[in-house]
């Protein structure tokens, strides 16, 4: 005997009651549904499941008294018994590790092929003297370079202050305060300015590149570019690459300047090294070689950031969520590769003895 409202709102209560239900021993059982006031799909499913359970327990179950308005719903539910959900196949940790390794290996190869594709597009564009997209490049220079000036300036200035303060405390003990110029100038130009700039640009601009291209990929705009007879790499990647190759050395130079300025101000405040003394010492401390070493890293970092950002964008597929995932991995990978490259630079320079 079922009665009352068998609806979603009461489904849990009904289910719990049904759990406690013990089948009578009689072989034939009639479920009397004449007392049902309301029935929805959840209720109909519970009723269906009850009858099925009875049948599996070896009883002959008949349903009676179901109102006409409920009968069609019950039929609908009985006609579409829910399929068993397919669970994704299980992989043990070793299999997962292997799959991951294959996946990463494939990604590395794809990245290599994308880099090659871009190089080919570059060669094609130079040799065939095709119209280069100066306007796109200029727009990229503005957004990646000019608009990044405040944040890069502020952060490198503060780094200069911190180096000067931390180093100054030690140098003062040896009465070698004037060497603060060497410390600040060399560490800023050789390491901090290029590295900090690259990390900030990767976070600011690399991520924007990925988001832009990934969104275009997901909305089939990249395919539209191809179908219109254009090359997406030439259209989207080359102007960014050119812009970044121009912007990164300039930003690094700017970071050099502000970092040294920060160090100089701190030296004046804390070590009594006047800015005149600091500037007089600067030409001896900062060799052309050190300066060029720092600046020479900038184009390499620029290529890494653009290639990783654009590659991640082109690899996007499916959904909006994937755009977010790609953007995250673009930033992480770009910063990772920038630091690796910086370490390689150090190793190579120490071999060369410069």
């Amino acid at each position: 005997m079922c009665q009352g409202e068998w609806t979603l709102a009461f489904a849990t209560a009904i289910e719990n009651d049904l759990e406690k239900f013990v089948w009578p021993s009689a072989p034939a059982i009639i479920i009397d549904a004449s007392g049902l006031v309301r029935l929805d799909t959840a209720g109909a499913w519970l009723l269906f499941r009850l009858a099925e359970r009875g049948r599996r327990a070896g009883r002959e179950v008949t349903l009676s008294g179901l109102a006409a308005k409920h009968a069609s719903l019950f039929e609908l539910v009985s006609a579409h018994p829910p399929a068993q959900a397919v669970r994704p196949p299980y992989h043990n940790p070793l299999e997962r590790l292997g799959m991951r390794a294959v996946e990463e290996g494939r990604t590395a190869l794809q990245f290599l092929s994308f880099t090659g594709e871009t190089a080919l597009a570059l060669v094609r564009m130079i040799t065939s003297a095709r119209r280069f997209r100066w306007q796109d490049m200029a727009a990229n220079i503005e957004s990646a370079g000019f608009q990044a000036l405040p944040i890069i300036g502020l952060l490198t200035f503060l780094i200069g202050v911190v180096i000067s303060y931390q180093g100054g405390v030690q140098l003062q003990q040896y009465g070698a305060s004037i060497y603060i110029t060497d410390l600040v100038a060399l560490s800023m130009t050789r390491e901090f300015a290029p590295l900090i700039t690259a990390i900030l640009v990767a976070g600011r601009t690399g991520s924007a590149y990925t988001a832009q291209i990934a969104t275009m990929q997901v909305t089939e705009e990249i395919d539209a570019i191809r179908v219109l007879g254009l090359d997406p790499v030439e259209l989207l990647v080359l102007p960014k690459l050119a812009a970044m190759l121009i912007v990164m050395p300039l930003l690094t130079l700017y970071a050099d300047f502000l970092g040294i300025l920060g160090g100089m101000l701190m030296a004046g405040l804390m070590l009594d090294v006047s800015s005149t003394a600091f500037l007089e010492r600067l030409p001896d401390a900062l060799t052309m070689e050190s300066y060029l070493i720092g600046i020479s890293k900038a184009p390499v970092f620029a290529v890494i950031i653009v290639m990783v950002g654009c590659y991640q964008g082109f690899m996007a597929k499916g959904s909006a969520e994937n755009v977010g995932e790609r953007t995250t991995s673009s930033v992480v990978l770009a910063i990772f590769l920038v630091i690796i490259a910086d370490a390689l630079f150090s190793v190579v320079f120490s071999w060369l003895g410069i």
Binding site: T41, L73, G318, S319
Partner: protein, 256 residues
């Protein structure tokens, strides 16, 4: 379900005006939608069909006028009441609006998980049941929306809209972007579900075949207002030039 005069009103629009920026979208719209009927909302592009639908869901506020849905005045309803009201309404969006980060089965389970205290087992069973009701196989449940065809996505969207057994179902161009065979199958499915679940359906559509097959009533928007409203045959026979061109234009080979 056939039109019967005694059906209670599910939606009542009284003197609804909508203005978006400088554009007057709706002017003086009066309309009543009765229970267990399928009403087709038709009209050319830009006549404010989807806007009207959004207004009925209170996703958008009309400039003036009153909208009553399931007996409640939308302008006067509080947040709590609106949540409760929306749970009684199902909506199939034009582009399905399935959550792209969830599998189909998770999409359908989502309303259950958020709004009910059912056991996980029961939620899984009911979600699979809805999946079966809209004619999708179990393998589809484990896939992500981006892996499905347009027709399957519509069906999955319908399953999600029907999850909480709504009394009122809004369909925004259910057959758009589908091939004629899939469109016709979806129409049959909606008719069957409407009949068995005693749904009231309001659908925005351009598809004359669906209209002839399913609609009990037709409301036609045009010239910023409701041009025609009534039983299907009655509207189709209207002498209004907009209605004539819609029902008897070059692309409307069938006539009642």
């Amino acid at each position: 379900m056939k039109v019967s005069a005694s059906s209670p009103n599910v939606i009542e629009l009284r003197r609804v005006h909508t203005r978006l920026g400088a554009t007057q979208i709706h002017e003086d719209i009066n309309m009543v939608i009765r229970a267990n009927e399928i009403t087709a909302l038709v009209g050319g592009s830009g006549t404010g069909k989807s806007t009207l639908l959004r207004a009925m869901l209170k996703l958008l506020r009309p400039t003036s006028g009153s909208i009553k849905v399931l007996g409640q005045e939308l302008a006067a309803i509080d947040d709590q009441g609106l949540h409760l009201l929306r749970r009684r309404i199902g909506m199939l969006f034009q582009y399905s609006a399935l959550f792209s980060g969830m599998t189909i089965l998770e999409n359908i389970s989502f309303p259950f998980r958020e709004h009910t205290d059912l056991s996980p087992e029961m939620i899984r069973e009911l979600s699979c049941l809805k999946l079966g009701l809209v004619g999708l196989s179990a393998e589809v449940g484990a896939k992500y929306p981006s892996e499905l065809s347009g027709g399957m996505r519509k069906r999955a969207g319908l399953a999600r809209a029907l999850a909480l057994d709504p009394e009122l179902l809004f369909l925004d161009e259910p057959t758009s972007g589908l091939d004629p065979v899939s469109a016709s199958a979806l129409d049959d499915l909606i008719l069957e579900l409407q009949h068995s679940l005693a749904l009231t359906v309001l659908m925005v559509t351009h598809d004359l075949d669906s209209i002839w097959k399913m609609a009990d009533r037709v409301a036609m928007l045009g010239r910023g207002t409701l041009v025609a409203f009534g039983g299907l045959k009655e509207v189709a026979a209207s002498p209004d030039p907009l209605v004539r061109s819609f029902f008897h234009g070059d692309r409307g080979p069938k006539n009642g």
